[in-house]
Symmetry: C2
Subunit: 404 residues, 2 copies
């Protein structure tokens, strides 16, 4: 993509009372545009990052045999009445008939019921990647708490508690894989079940000062508890806990039979007896991952994207008005495109300082400069975003290193 033609543009100004780094940097670097409190548009850079996060999640969900579906946002009011969640305050109600889905147990449970007759039909898991709506009284922290946000939600159906627990453990590992692949180290945190279950739930929290949650961490056991549980000592070793701030990127719930009871979802067991289905549910905040990565991976100059979810692999900069250098940069741009290496090409007529500042702000992992000086030195100048080291290498070497 040519930067001069991109809908994503950098900006020096940022007029907002939102103090978080993700709101400021993602806006200034042209990844998102705030439309109203907690409501964002994703510009081309931001949408590229989102699609990469989505693909990682999709791969990890497929790996635990979850089946992808898409449920509607307009969830009929009768569905919510079955579970008594029609009065939960965060539900937007666009008409008498619907509440916008802020979670989809009420849709997926009857969907699962349709195909369950006997124990042979269990277990299975459905997931979707979808926009959720929550009427948050105070939408804040940039993309971390939105009124509209993208979520991956999965729902599993089991014959018994033991089978749920087996799958819950698989999903837990899949979650660590997702966050790890997105460049985030996460803690597995005990938390209350909220509107979902009377049991404890489990959150995946990333430590950051921008986080909205207070968690108590046992550094020895690498376990943690959400402050809403008020646990005073490590429940495993009895040791003391350290208070930290965390941003929740995922949560998983043992729903037990709460929703199968509400919708009367039963199966015939091996002995021909009717039994209630046991369910679990599993959420990941897709847009929130993007925000938390921005919080964790930035410096005073701008963003530092992990390679796995960077909007582009290469930030190509041409410098100077020299025709030979311009031509060499254009040729390299074509070659990178041909090799299917994602490249942002800054071919604007602008000063080197401004171009480098934009490259630092946008945060693509590798900066490649073509100028009369680099051509004289036999190639291009490369610099990793997370290092101050600058090297000159030949175009051939560059292409080889990127095609690994």
């Amino acid at each position: 993509m040519r930067l001069s033609q991109s809908l994503s543009q950098t900006s020096k100004t940022f007029s907002s009372d939102d103090p978080t780094a993700n709101a400021k940097l993602l806006t200034q670097a042209g990844f998102v545009k705030r439309e109203s409190a907690g409501v964002y548009s994703f510009l081309p850079f931001g949408w590229r990052v989102m699609r990469k996060i989505i693909e990682i999640i999709r791969e990890e969900m497929n790996a635990v045999d979850a089946q992808e579906v898409l449920m509607p946002a307009l969830v009929p009011i009768e569905y919510w009445q079955k579970t008594g969640r029609d009065n939960v305050e965060i539900g937007f109600q666009p008409s008498e008939k619907y509440i916008l889905g802020w979670s989809h147990e009420e849709v997926v449970t009857p969907m699962g019921k349709q195909r369950i007759k006997s124990y042979r039909d269990l277990p299975f898991c459905a997931f979707q990647i979808q926009t959720k709506f929550r009427n948050e009284a105070r939408a804040k922290s940039g993309l971390m708490r939105g009124r509209e946000f993208m979520m991956k939600d999965a729902y599993s159906f089991h014959a018994n508690q033991a089978d749920l627990e087996k799958y819950y453990a698989r999903m837990k590992q899949a979650y660590f894989n997702v966050f790890g692949r997105c460049g985030l180290e996460s803690f597995y945190v005990d938390a209350p079940g909220g509107e979902f279950t009377k049991k404890r739930s489990h959150e995946f929290q990333v430590l950051t000062e921008a986080g909205e949650d207070k968690i108590f961490v046992c550094e020895k056991c690498k376990l943690a508890w959400n402050s809403e549980l008020e646990v005073r000592k490590c429940e495993k070793c009895g040791g003391k806990l350290v208070e930290k701030k965390g941003a929740e990127v995922g949560n998983i719930f043992d729903l037990s039979t709460r929703f199968s009871e509400a919708f009367d979802v039963k199966y015939l067991d091996e002995n021909g007896k009717q039994q209630l289905v046991v369910m679990g549910c599993y959420g990941i905040g897709v847009s929130r991952i993007m925000a938390v990565v921005a919080e964790v991976h930035h410096d005073e100059k701008g963003l530092l994207w992990p390679e796995s979810i960077a909007p582009f692999a290469v930030h190509l900069v041409s410098l100077g008005k020299d025709e030979a250098a311009k031509k060499a940069a254009e040729e390299l741009y074509e070659e990178l495109n041909k090799a299917k290496i994602e490249v942002l090409f800054d071919e604007r007529d602008a000063a080197a300082g401004a171009k480098f500042a934009d490259a630092d702000l946008i945060g693509i992992p590798l900066r490649v400069v073509v100028s009369p000086k680099t051509l004289e030195a036999g190639g291009v100048e490369i610099k990793k975003r997370n290092s101050s080291e600058v090297n000159t290498i030949s175009v051939k070497e560059l292409l080889k290193s990127l095609q690994k």
Copy 2:
């Protein structure tokens, strides 16, 4: 995917007052589940088809240099007030602050404004693939007219009318490409501009008795007019028109300066003079394509998917309780998966008649049967969904033909 484990299951019953083939067949074949009038869930088969349609659209939009973004569904009321479209009846209003996006001119116009200073910043085009909400008084015709549906909408920005018209023509061709690749022959139809423009708009209509529109077709010129325009004769050759029923799958609008005026979107021209930007907008009903394909491509037994958007390439059926045949079918399933050929595997304990009826209902282009009889004949039995011819070929030949 193993049919026995799929969330998509076939069903003989269909209790609805919706008479359309798409509602009946897509439901019975396990592609969708109706949640309320005009509100559907996409089950795994249906969501696979949708994702393929989305990829085709994405490729064609990239080919006309459109940039992918994602705008919110919660569109601030102030945006709509700027254009006077806050009172359009189809807008769902979930709170005082927002109207759910039923089209996104009001969001994309200020987004474009952000990056436009001079003529050098034009033209560009943004597109998104997103859920739209319209409070249709009478949602009907299965997935053809929904309250919630998936749409591709694109918006282009130009320095002048001539440049818009050039791009409009490129987009027109891209639209024919999209529909053609999805197995649909479409007519380019003159229509009124509705809530978008005082000029005529252009619809892409597919001829089908299930269509909601009346169009007048000149069979000589291959042109057509929506009946709402009440054109009596072909505007090109003056010849007589034939009345047909059509289903609209796309529409494109010359917005002129309607939205750039409302949001004061101007650029500096070559002479340093301020000029209003000229805009176009371009919609495709993604879920409607799926419905129209079901209307156009089915017979009395079920669906007939074009290869390009079929949920799977192969419907593999194992027959009989013979262990050798079961093992051969399992091995073929593994081989197809390894070769990355998408396969639905019907390994259920069911009668041949029931399995064949399900294969016809689901409508995957190629049925492959493994049974003691086919093994004896030296391989597998193949049958195309759109033909009655049955042949026996070796597994090697099958794999070769699929890996073309």
